[in-house]
Symmetry: C2
Subunit: 462 residues, 2 copies
């Protein structure tokens, strides 16, 4: 198969020439061009200084080759790979496998990314542990959900295979030097892969975190990384009109901050790309949803990502998108060429209301519906953008990942916040520790009880 063609980004749907007075003008973009250029320069400077190592992941051919070698070894010895991880340790893998599908010779890959006992019991009862490898992924080794999964799975593996043999089934992806899971792996003799330093979970899909399970599924990670590299070349330009990541970031930023559009809907017309909306959802929400700006001022910013699916959600969400408040931007993803397209047969040529469908393919119908929805939204003065991909393959996914990662960094620069941290989740973790009886968190138990006491029973119905 030839190199994946470049994806295109059509932003006409933001502008007044298409959607009328509620649209942006080119002058508004030009007015911010210098600021965007400066943000691109700053990112480039930080990249050169080694502060943004996620940029280099798809260029690290040595690490990619090592992952391929390990994946080949696993494919030769096991049928199933059970991935234990949550958030950024799971979403990239699930996204690529949903989109591209298991490749030739690929293992069955199951990702446990929650602690729902019903799901975990069901997955565990469906795998043959003797033929299963386990990839536990946690940078610190203290992620409660992942380590709980691991304790349960390790217990079963050990029971079935014996204390000496089970370790050969485990690959730990964790901090290269320190942390709980690194020590455990050293003690138990697990094989390990490293989460590269200073690469956060939501930017880790092209690190060994995502690459090992994706390669194990038989998907070509060289093509995946090649796609990211090709997008890297397109997203370094400091000309906002030529850099798709910068242009999309700026337009979404203007839509949110000037236009009150606090919701961004990602709506692929492809079942396999629905999960990409979840990967993007973590990236956008966790990176931009921040209380303080870089100067410590109160910001409380962040556009809310929403995933939708065409054509299905035309029968669910589009009524709201067309007629509701002017509070959202909808980005479509359209697939030019669908795998294995199906033609609608000419069975009821004489029946009005059906006959017009006959002879079209389902892919044509999907794409006509996408175009119709886009134009109907434009006619209603709603903001949209359109990403067109030629086909759903590894190279396209690499392009999409890199495009959205850079877009997120530029958007963070425009908001003046740090897109790489996530301080807001600490409070909930500490309260969980207190409830679960973790040593050192005893003083928080009183806080929990005090809060719960404020829940007066007469405001609970039932």
């Amino acid at each position: 198969m030839p190199t994946t063609p470049p994806i295109s980004l059509d932003v006409n749907g933001f502008f007044d020439h298409l959607i009328g007075p509620r649209g942006l003008s080119r002058a508004e973009v030009d007015a911010e061009a210098a600021r965007v250029g400066a943000i691109i320069d700053r990112l480039e400077g930080r990249r050169v200084a080694g502060e943004l190592p996620f940029y280099e992941l798809p260029h690290d051919l040595e690490s990619i080759a090592a992952v391929n070698e390990l994946a080949d070894d696993l494919k030769g010895r096991f049928d199933t790979l059970l991935v234990l991880g949550i958030g950024g340790s799971a979403l990239g893998t699930k996204t690529v496998i949903d989109a591209v599908g298991r490749g030739p010779g690929g293992m069955r890959v199951e990702v446990l990314d929650n602690v729902d006992p019903t799901t975990i019991a069901s997955v565990l009862s469906s795998v043959d542990l003797a033929r299963t490898a386990v990839n536990v992924i946690s940078k610190s080794g203290q992620t409660a959900e992942t380590m709980s999964q691991f304790l349960i799975v390790r217990d079963r593996l050990r029971g079935e295979l014996g204390a000496d043999a089970y370790g050969a089934h485990v690959i730990a992806t964790t901090d290269p030097e320190s942390g709980t899971l690194r020590s455990l792996a050293d003690d138990e003799g697990f094989r390990t892969l490293s989460v590269p330093p200073r690469v956060g979970g939501r930017f880790s899909v092209l690190s060994p975190v995502g690459l090992l399970p994706i390669a194990a599924a038989g998907i070509n990670i060289d093509e995946l990384c090649e796609g990211a590299r090709s997008m890297d070349a397109r997203t370094r330009s400091r000309d906002v009109w030529a850099n798709p990541a910068a242009l999309h970031a700026l337009l979404l930023h203007l839509a949110a901050t000037e236009g009150g559009r606090n919701i961004h809907v990602l709506m692929p017309y492809s079942d396999g790309l629905l999960r990409f909306g979840e990967w993007y959802g973590q990236l956008w929400a966790e990176s931009l949803g921040k209380r303080f700006d870089l100067d410590g001022g109160l910001a409380e910013v962040g556009q809310s990502p929403v995933r939708a699916l065409g054509a299905t959600d035309q029968h669910s969400q589009v009524q709201l998108y067309i007629e509701g408040p002017h509070d959202k931007v909808i980005t479509f993803i359209r697939v030019a060429r669908h795998h294995a397209d199906l033609t609608i047969p000419p069975s009821y040529q004489d029946i009005d209301g059906i006959s017009y469908l006959c002879g079209h393919t389902l892919g044509e119908l999907l794409n006509m519906e996408q175009r119709a929805t886009e134009l109907a939204l434009a006619a209603a003065g709603r903001m949209t953008s359109l990403i067109e991909i030629q086909r759903v393959d590894a190279g396209t996914m690499g392009q999409l990942f890199h495009l959205f990662e850079v877009q997120t960094l530029v958007a963070g620069g425009l908001l003046g916040i740090d897109p790489l941290d996530q301080p807001g989740v600490e409070a909930g973790k500490r309260l969980t520790y207190a409830m679960a009886g973790r040593a050192g968190y005893e003083e928080l138990v009183g806080e929990v009880e005090e809060q719960l006491a404020k829940k007066r029973e007469d405001l609970v119905l039932g």
Copy 2:
């Protein structure tokens, strides 16, 4: 199994005594109590007049028995039921099957709710048509996606089984008297079920639309409807403080219209209930997202529904919920008793950062995380509510469906819009007809071309 216990609704998280000055006061609710009472009265009046027949669906024991009989017949003759439908014709079925799971003796039920050729080819290649029944669901028989699916599936069935035999595999759920699918079914001799008159797709889960495939999956539809009836008894009260549907509707309405919270997140801590967020998403978006109010004035209202999943989205969305704009309400669903709970074994008792997990069950961990997230949001001044269910079963799902349906009607009353129509989707349908060459829509082709001409190529990158 005993009757499903009632679900509870805890609304403390909306109020100032828990979340501080950004919360609502009881006085604000009291001020609207009379208006809500009047809305309940009006709904009751319309119900008595036969204008809201969805209320009667779970009480129609004769129809429920007829569906059970047909489902038993199908279970005896086929292995798989292929449901062709989209939007309200698919979501209720998928929701119940995801939550409750296939029951004893149940058929495998596959729901095609999109026209993605990759998915449809994959499902069709996985079923044995000789052992498959097909339930095509469309009130009008002109739903483009459903009829396209049907033309393809009918062609394959006919090819494999012959023109005389294939019709015995098809059940059409459609308008009781008229429409394209009703005529087709009469001509071809398909068995039929009726979409009850004046029951819209998003209120149809407890009609034959949802009940047949749910019963075919081996799930007890008597318990499902019994759950809805028990909630019906609780949601007729005109006292806003005693009626969970009315109280939740009013609080969400005040949060949106007075407090700028234009997003409502539904976040179950249960994998099986994630799909319920999609069912609710259609109901809330399509019912409340309206351009005009009942007097014809410009309204452009409607809160945007978002689905999330605990604990997974603590690692994705909760950073934004805690630190981002005060633009959302988060409703948790918590399951008191998980099926097949798993205990975390005491394997690493000596390792700090893991040992506190040992001995807890996964269900306990999930519920501690839910509570911790709820309290952390309250401490950050964010609005939440909590639905607690005792277990995920058919009776609980019936309660949830009815609760949210009545809540939606009350919310529509508060907004002064018609929650039962969806005029905004017509424009997109007409443009699709024009592109696909449907007779009578030729004059719109020019409009499409004119719109497309406005998309200037220099705003397309790539």
